[in-house]
Symmetry: none
Subunit: 187 residues, 4 copies
């Protein structure tokens, strides 16, 4: 029996169950049972239920923060924008379960403190992709691009086809949208 990694195991199981059933419908009893520990053990590692998902959010969104930080140091050329999308799309792979969770538990997100954190990140990304004086429809294009990247992977889960192919198809559609927005605002 592995030692000292209980905290990690709790996170894994929690994300799995939150994803399957939603945050509200997943009880600490379930998490504890699947791990074969007692509920009280969870409380040794995390102060509250919300604490568990906050910790997940912080751990899993670091790669995305890095994309944003990198983007901020770059000029607003089309090439950079597309590179941001590409990196973002890759960063999303590891965080898929978390995004699936966030996507599917938005009502819950709003009351949890991480809801705000996520919104800020989203706006930061849009700011990198759009130009300062973009028309509304172009801002919507950028939004839609990001949005479909977040949602795409699991919404399209029941569409036939190879996952990696789907990801690049989604990326292609997102690219198109950003290219369009870029051109419109420079026209």
């Amino acid at each position: 029996m592995a030692r000292g990694n209980t905290r990690q195991r709790i996170q894994d199981v929690a994300l799995e169950l939150f994803g399957e059933q939603g945050y509200e419908k997943t009880s600490l009893r379930e998490i504890a049972e699947r791990l074969e520990v007692t509920k009280a053990a969870l409380y040794y590692h995390f102060k509250t239920k919300e604490d568990i998902i906050i910790s997940l959010f912080q751990d899993l969104t670091r790669p995305m923060d890095e994309v944003i930080e990198w983007g901020r140091t770059q000029p607003k050329t089309l090439d950079v924008k597309l590179e941001i999308l590409r990196r973002y799309s890759e960063a999303l792979i590891g965080a898929e379960p978390l995004f699936r969770f966030m996507q599917e538990n938005q009502a819950t997100m709003r009351e949890l403190s991480i809801g705000e954190m996520f919104k800020e990140r989203m706006h930061a990304m849009v700011d990198l992709l759009k130009d300062p004086d973009s028309a509304m429809s172009d801002r919507i294009r950028c939004f839609t691009a990001l949005f479909s990247m977040h949602a795409g992977m699991f919404v399209l889960k029941d569409m036939e086809g190879d996952p990696e192919e789907k990801r690049t198809s989604i990326l292609e559609v997102a690219n198109d949208l950003v290219v369009q927005a870029h051109r419109n605002s420079r026209a």
Copy 2:
């Protein structure tokens, strides 16, 4: 105290609260209290909690069904497709709170019977918009078009601008995506 409209009032308040706090976190006690009736009164009008939202779904999605029915009788020209989008966008207006609810409670939707009903409707719409032999990226374009129409209205709620203008902007973006898909599949 008004008579005979209790059922309707329950639906109204329920949709409001489900939208604000999510389905799981909204208790029947809350709904009853806001209506100043007892919980048992809710059970006179609806057999279960799930029954309440099923009834909402059925009542509010009728206009969309009509769009789909109409679309099925039409030829698959680009003009028809754009007309479908336009009508669908309009049909969505009245159902906004419901879609907001569904968008934000996807984890819950999966266990509720209306989850399936919704998926079917979505597929029916995509079938009207895409051509039989479309490439994956074009099917994704159609999906994304619909998806952003559903989600757009409330996701963009905190973006400044007139709601009606937003709606037409979203429609414009959706149009572009469908036009693109249409052209690709005929090329």
Copy 3:
């Protein structure tokens, strides 16, 4: 649709359901639903739930009362005792569902006013069968005789064999017990 017999129909369905599921677990809603009337209709015919079963008890135990009344006018010979058993066994046939109900809902009976009524009847029967100075084991024989007649029919339901044959077999065993008691007390 028959008229004016709703009261009777309520009694029939109630006894059926009380027998199937027990008194506590049978709700007025169920009775009403099976009759295709509203709960409120039941309250037009009976003041309370308990009232329904009291009325059943009164209607169905009349034949037994008649046996007891007859027995009281007779001398305490063995022949009379056996005739009492025979008549009682026959009287039980029509009341089988009621006895099944009472047998299976004794805990409930104790709180319902008919519990007492039944006990009195039982003692009256034992008094007819035993002699004034019987030994305890002979009183128990009489008790057991009656008891097995009450319980026998449904307890033995899952034993193979013809129902009428079972009834006469039970009666035979009861006869033996009473004969034995009679002889002991005269020995």
Copy 4:
């Protein structure tokens, strides 16, 4: 306040109340209140309400199982049969409250899983007492013997006399029945 015996105390109080008022009419609130714990504490020790009485059944019927096991190893002589009755009668003493409960809540028993367990035990006992080719009336004698032993103790509670004397009187009547059945089948 005593520790570590809460489970036992719950069982004791539950059996007492189930016996007094019936299973359905006894609420967990009542049990908890009488024990001066919260309802939730009951759920720490038992998964459901039914679980409480299952545990009681299992704990209290062990002595009877032992009688049956012993009986199976013995030849089917009359002496053995009477010894089985004697041991069974003794085993019943400790289980009196449980049998009282089962006797008085038969309607409930039918839906609870222990209903079946009990039926099997009853059949196993009859098989030990009757001979393979017994006539129906002899099988009924065996049944009646057992039945009156189960029911006798509490049904006769309001009959005057010493409890231990009652028990042996009942046993005597049961003996007679089994002797009779034994002789008939060997005649």
